[in-house]
């Protein structure tokens, strides 16, 4: 079997367009899932009885519903347009996992740290934001990196609602040229590049947190 890589050059604008949409979806979903997941995780770790029960229900429900089902509910049942529905599905899906990571990270900080901060005269809010959260954040970086990489991979689900992201464009190349190996290899490289960029960015954040703590 001979390979024909020039088809990738012919379809470069389609593949680039798909990559840009994947990148946009991933960045927006990472930001949204981080905000929502961190809020839910904080409530789960530190909130009152009702807050902990409600957030536990939120996490269990969203983790156990496949992202495809969330997407179909948003787009075909609730009638939300394809792009917002895709972003909402990605954010809701991954926020549950981010909430779990956040709660675990907060619980990993010894309770004595918060007690000591309070004893030194810091308010509850300042002891949480200045003492507990930075320590928890260092522990959260590796699992959060994994979650963000998941968002990149899950972003391909939006092609089910006719959004033309990277996997969609890869399939277009294959359908029109039957050069599946070349198309799949190109998509692999692009997805891997995106995932490695996220890993590198998170590694930088981890080093910055470590320097700050030192």
């Amino acid at each position: 079997m001979t390979l024909d890589w020039h088809v990738i050059w012919e379809y470069r604008s389609d593949l680039l367009q798909g990559f840009v949409l994947t990148l946009q979806l991933s960045l927006v979903a990472i930001a949204g899932a981080s905000l929502l997941g961190t809020l839910v995780g904080c409530l789960r770790a530190s909130g009152g009885f009702l807050a902990r029960r409600l957030t536990a229900l939120y996490v269990e429900l969203l983790r156990n519903i496949p992202i495809v089902v969330k997407l179909f509910l948003a787009h075909f049942i609730l009638g939300i347009d394809a792009l917002p529905a895709g972003i909402a599905a990605l954010i809701l899906h991954q926020s549950a996992y981010v909430a779990d990571v956040t709660a675990a990270g907060l619980r990993s900080v010894p309770s004595g740290q918060a007690d000591a901060a309070l004893a030194l005269g810091l308010s509850r809010r300042r002891s949480f934001s200045l003492v507990v959260l930075p320590q928890a954040a260092r522990a959260m970086i590796p699992p959060l990196t994994t979650q963000y990489t998941q968002i990149v991979k899950n972003s391909s689900v939006v092609m089910l609602v006719a959004l033309q992201e990277l996997t969609f464009m890869t399939q277009r190349v294959e359908h029109e040229t039957f050069r599946g190996l070349e198309a799949a290899t190109t998509a692999t490289i692009l997805y891997a590049a995106l995932a490695l960029a996220i890993a590198a960015a998170m590694a930088s954040v981890e080093r910055a947190l470590e320097r700050r703590a030192a």
Partner: protein, 290 residues
């Protein structure tokens, strides 16, 4: 964290290297005809649709029925081998054929130049008008939708994407992965029109039953032809399939099966310029089982 990153990069490089090496490894070409392979194997691997009535679908009793499966049964019978029906879709039919996992794609494939560069085709064996599905009350004239303002729905990889662009280069086409989502998108107003083949349009309305009240079948604007997909450069197998189609036509079996499933006589004449090849009904050689 840095060592984790390095490990990930190393894994990626190894994976790409293995993939590249595999791609350059010599793969065996088509040494023998598929006809000989089938006879030696004792089984015909026929790719058919499970989701495209009346060409190929699963009956309520769980049987694989339709014009394609029935034709495959006739071919297997005359080859004197068993039959295995393999599900094909728009996405996998060509790769399955190229990889040898099916011997023939007896589905709903339209011969196009691009496809003909990688596989071969038999005589046209189905002619199905292409018409439009619209919402009830909307125009049923396809020409009213050939403008860039209308949203067109189609399945990704289907023939209709390119066909519609020929009529309307600036059309906004939303490509879905599966037919149910496409039909729901039309019903919900996410697309304005769906080009599809006549048999599929009526099949969709029949499957929807009362829920089809909001949909309507428009006029035809193209005649879609379909042919049996075969592996590239396998002339012995292609010749046999073409002779088989002509012999079934000469015996009247072809027309009976067509009418049974498409509910109409074939709107075309099989063969070269609509004529069967002279002597096609004669069994010539041992390698031509019938």
């Amino acid at each position: 964290m840095t060592s984790l990153l390095c490990r990930r990069v190393l894994c990626l490089v190894i994976a790409l290297g293995v993939g590249a090496a595999a791609s350059f490894a010599a793969s065996p070409g088509l040494a023998r005809s598929t006809l000989d392979v089938i006879r030696e194997r004792g089984k015909l691997l026929a790719g058919v649709r499970f989701d495209a009535p009346p060409n190929g679908y699963v009956s309520p009793q769980g049987e694989i029925v339709g014009f394609g499966p029935d034709l495959a049964r006739e071919l297997a019978r005359h080859l004197g081998v068993e039959l295995e029906l393999v599900q094909v879709t728009s996405k996998n039919r060509i790769p399955l054929l190229q990889s040898g996992q099916i011997d023939a794609d007896i589905g709903t494939t339209t011969p196009t130049k691009t496809r003909d560069e990688v596989v071969d085709f038999s005589y046209v064996y189905v002619v199905d008008p292409t018409l439009i599905l619209v919402r009830k009350g909307d125009s049923t004239d396809p020409a009213d939708y050939f403008d860039s303002e209308r949203r067109v729905g189609a399945l990704q990889g289907s023939f209709y994407v390119g066909l519609w662009r020929q009529h309307s280069p600036a059309a906004r086409i939303l490509e879905y992965q599966e037919l149910p989502e496409l039909v729901v998108a039309l019903a919900q107003g996410k697309v304005d029109v769906v080009p599809t083949m006549r048999s599929q349009a009526f099949g969709i309305l029949e499957a929807l039953g009362e829920r089809a009240e909001g949909l309507a079948v428009g006029e035809a604007f193209f005649e879609d032809v379909m042919a049996i997909g075969l592996r590239e450069n396998d002339s012995d197998w292609r010749d046999w399939v073409n002779w088989a189609l002509q012999r079934l036509w000469a015996e009247g079996i072809y027309q009976a099966l067509y009418k049974k499933h498409y509910r109409m006589d074939p709107p075309f004449a099989l063969g070269d310029a609509g004529r069967l090849q002279p002597g096609v009904d004669k069994i010539a050689q041992e390698r031509d089982p019938w």
